[in-house]
């Protein structure tokens, strides 16, 4: 009985403290908008204020080695970015295009020539804080904020080693991060007129009205083979009115169709032809964020799944269970999150469609 009383007394005190604290939040607002908003507690600010600036304000304590980074990389990063950060499959490559000379000069020489096919992250990023901040806040791509500060130091160390910015036995920490010399640290300029409306633009046109360019030369057009690359433009325009879409499934027509539009191949109704079905479901339920038709993305391709389970009895039930509960290990270490939001009917539709190779 006594114990219970003590407990309730404690609870009462705690409640009182909370009430007092809340009213003090309300009172600390300005007189202008009484009752609006409250003071953020130190714990709340700490939970959200995770950004790291170029002067490393906001950087938490911790450390990680290149070696540890490689282990995390292979488990959580390599499937999107490639074993050596070289992949161009999903996002542009992270490493490549920088030299030891760039580390000395602070300017990436390959940005000037046209030989480097892609601008990689390490070619561009001037400050190591940027890598740390972004990896900690938003990586891995399909499981953001799942890395600890130590994990993040390790992954950043591994990326830096890929660019030969730090040696293979390097341990990156909050105490030595400021010493890292990024290859493009001198490669950024803010000398332009785009930051402040008061600044002067770098380019301006001219307002000539007559006989401005007596010889008009066309410098670039879409090649014929790209005519239908954005699918049928006829179906991307209004079916009526003065401006119709050209039927890009066919070569251009030879003469004007005439005011009725008769003779235009796309005059047939397209308004009810919007395709629904498993392909749309696959996209709308976010499956396509990780699975592509033929290429490996975060997860295996539809074609690979269909091939693996071809002819296997019970494959539909097995995969339906897997889609519902999630899984890992069959196709690599990146887990497939459970898709509990799907109805049994939709799940079956999707699995049958995937097993048919997406046909």
């Amino acid at each position: 009985m006594f114990k219970l009383d003590k407990l309730s007394l404690h609870l009462g005190l705690a409640a009182l403290i909370i009430i007092t604290a809340q009213s003090s939040f309300a009172q600390s607002g300005s007189a202008k908008f009484p009752g609006i908003g409250r003071v953020a507690t130190p714990a709340e600010v700490a939970a959200w204020d995770i950004d790291v600036r170029p002067d490393f304000k906001g950087l938490p304590k911790g450390s990680g080695s290149v070696e540890q980074g490689q282990v995390i990389w292979e488990a959580k990063c390599a499937s999107c970015h490639g074993t050596f950060g070289e992949s161009n499959e999903i996002f542009t490559p992270i490493a490549g295009g920088t030299t030891k000379d760039d580390v000395k000069t602070g300017r990436v020489a390959s940005l000037k020539d046209m030989k480097q096919p892609q601008r990689t992250t390490l070619m561009k990023v001037p400050t190591v804080s940027t890598l740390w901040d972004y990896i900690y806040r938003a990586m891995p791509w399909n499981a953001p904020r799942s890395l600890t500060p130590d994990d993040t130091y390790a992954v950043v160390a591994f990326i830096l080693s890929l660019g030969e910015i730090v040696p293979d036995d390097f341990v990156l920490s909050n105490t030595n991060i400021a010493e890292v010399k990024m290859p493009n640290r001198n490669g950024m300029t803010t000398k332009h007129g785009f930051w402040n409306v008061k600044d002067k633009p770098d380019v301006n046109g001219n307002a000539c009205m007559h006989n401005c360019v007596p010889f008009v030369q066309i410098g670039s057009t879409l090649p014929d083979f790209a005519r239908n690359a954005h699918e049928n433009i006829a179906e991307q325009n209004r079916m009526y009115g003065p401006y119709r879409g050209a039927d890009t499934t066919k070569p251009p027509i030879k003469a004007l169709p005439g005011t009725s539009g008769a003779g235009l191949a796309h005059a047939a109704d397209t308004h009810s032809s919007a395709a629904k079905g498993p392909a749309a479901l696959f996209k709308n339920e976010n499956c396509s964020a990780c699975h592509a038709p033929n290429a490996k993305l975060v997860g295996p391709s539809i074609a690979d799944i269909a091939k693996k389970y071809e002819g296997q009895s019970g494959a539909v039930d097995k995969l339906m269970a897997k889609v519902k509960a999630g899984g890992a290990g069959v196709w690599g270490s990146i887990p497939m999150p459970p898709q509990a939001q799907l109805s049994d009917e939709d799940r079956k539709t999707l699995v049958v469609w995937v097993l048919s190779g997406g046909k």
Binding site: G37, D49, D51, E89, T130, V203, M209, R238, D269
Partner: protein, 451 residues
């Protein structure tokens, strides 16, 4: 027979529901399953919306006139749908071609991609909310407004937390502004890459945004605006998008907004809260806004150090290039469209400037050799889209159409050649060049670059 939908009314004998058209149709073509269906449906005339083809070509001698005038239409002769059949309305089914679209092959994953606004079919200056362009970095969520919070911290006397209930009690403003992605038209820096204005210019929208002025919130938190020249805006999505905002330049017109065109923001556009930074590229209009931090230096976040930087010919990157300069494009007619015949056309397009108001738009039909000044639709608002129109009689010969906008700072939209002379060809962002559309004698319009 199905029971009529309405109670307490007389049900007429079926023969009174058979239209003259249907009788003529059955006489001409016999009674098949489809026409039996129409007879059955005669009882249910209140339902309406039967399949196309119900209006059979009634015996009408050629030359008497247009069947669309001479014949009764289904919608004239039957009962339409009830009010609130669509409690949140949708466009006509005949408008279903005009939707947001992805450009095939632009990115490998749709959660970090773009859906472009169909500018080729829009009118006026306001983008319908369902067609406002989308660009996400880590997919979109339908955030719960009850648990959404906005924190203001950094160089402020009182770091504060606001709920949506708090924010929506504050004095609000409603202002119309354009939003354009810094990469809009970026695909075309090197050469023509995409066929239509949806893909060349469709990362552009314009809406009336409602929210609380940023300054009201910063004052409320006691922001140190002497030391604090920069603002970090942070999103609540997986990418935790962060952008540095120029507080000195943007403080007075930036809005912490919850509404767009009279309704709450759509989830794809940041529901329940986004930053509106007029004139500045879209990436800084942070969606699902959850934190604002006042600081004394720029943050160099991922999207201001790896992306949204322009590669100059000398190998340097321009960083913190934010303002969307004066730009215009003819939307009708535009690439991929087909003109039906010679004669009169209203040629129309959009003009905008992140530096201020549009003052003039000129249009050329001969590839930029001669220009005429277009009519501007009012109101002409600052950092907003202005619609322009110009009359044109097409004689059937090939033409190259261009538009060129000017703003109240004296800035004139440049040609692609002028831009490339200064910035080279490897930039992605801030391509505000004059757009050229080539019209062939067959009436088809295509995307070309001149010079």
């Amino acid at each position: 027979m199905e029971k009529p939908a309405n109670q307490a009314r007389l049900v007429k004998a079926p023969e009174h529901f058979i239209s003259q058209e249907l009788i003529a149709d059955i006489n001409a073509n016999g009674l098949d399953e489809k026409r039996r269906g129409f007879l059955r449906k005669g009882f249910m005339s209140a339902i309406g919306g039967a399949a196309a083809g119900l209006v059979a070509p009634y015996a009408m001698a050629a030359g008497e006139g247009d069947p669309a005038i001479l014949e009764k239409q289904e919608w004239q002769t039957t009962l339409g749908k009830n009010v609130a059949t669509m409690p949140y309305g949708l466009p006509s089914v005949y408008e279903s071609n005009l939707i947001r679209r992805e450009s095939p092959g632009l990115t490998r994953v749709s959660a970090a991609s773009v859906a472009f606004t169909p500018l080729q079919g829009l009118f006026g200056t306001i983008t319908p909310n369902g067609l406002h362009f989308e660009r996400h970095h880590q997919g979109w969520y339908n955030l719960n407004p009850e648990t959404h919070r906005l924190m203001v911290n950094g160089l402020v006397k009182n770091p504060r937390v606001f709920t949506m209930n708090d924010l929506m009690r504050l004095p609000s403003v409603s202002r119309t502004h354009f939003i354009e992605c810094g990469a809009n038209t970026g695909l075309e820096w090197g050469n023509v890459a995409v066929p239509t204005v949806q893909y060349t210019h469709g990362m552009l929208s314009c809406c009336e945004f409602t929210g609380v002025p940023l300054k009201v919130l910063l004052d409320e938190c006691g922001a140190d605006l002497k030391k604090g020249k920069f603002l970090l805006a942070e999103g609540g999505d997986g990418s935790g998008m962060t952008r540095t905002i120029n507080l000195e330049s943007c403080l007075n017109d930036t809005i912490v907004a919850w509404a767009m065109n009279g309704e709450m923001l759509r989830p794809e556009n940041g529901f329940p809260l986004r930053l509106v930074v007029p004139g500045v590229q879209g990436v800084s209009w942070v969606k699902w806004l959850r934190r604002l931090e006042v600081g004394d230096m720029p943050w160099n976040a991922k999207d201001e150090a790896v992306h949204y930087i322009e590669l100059m010919p000398d190998g340097s990157h321009r960083q913190y290039a934010s303002i969307q300069e004066c730009k215009s494009v003819i939307t009708t007619p535009s690439g991929g469209q087909q003109l039906l015949d010679k004669g009169f056309y209203n040629v129309s397009g959009m003009a905008w400037s992140g530096r201020g108001k549009i003052t003039r738009v000129d249009v050329s039909f001969d590839g930029g050799n001669n220009w005429r000044t277009a009519r501007l639709e009012t109101p002409v608002l600052t950092k907003s889209i202005t619609r322009f129109n110009i009359d044109w009689v097409w004689d059937g010969s090939p033409a190259i159409m261009q538009s060129r906008a000017m703003d109240d700072t004296g800035y004139i939209q440049p040609s692609i050649k002028t831009l490339r002379n200064v910035r080279g060809t490897r930039s992605i962002y801030h391509n505000n060049a004059i757009q050229s559309w080539k019209l062939d004698s067959n009436g088809e319009v295509s995307n070309v670059q001149v010079g």
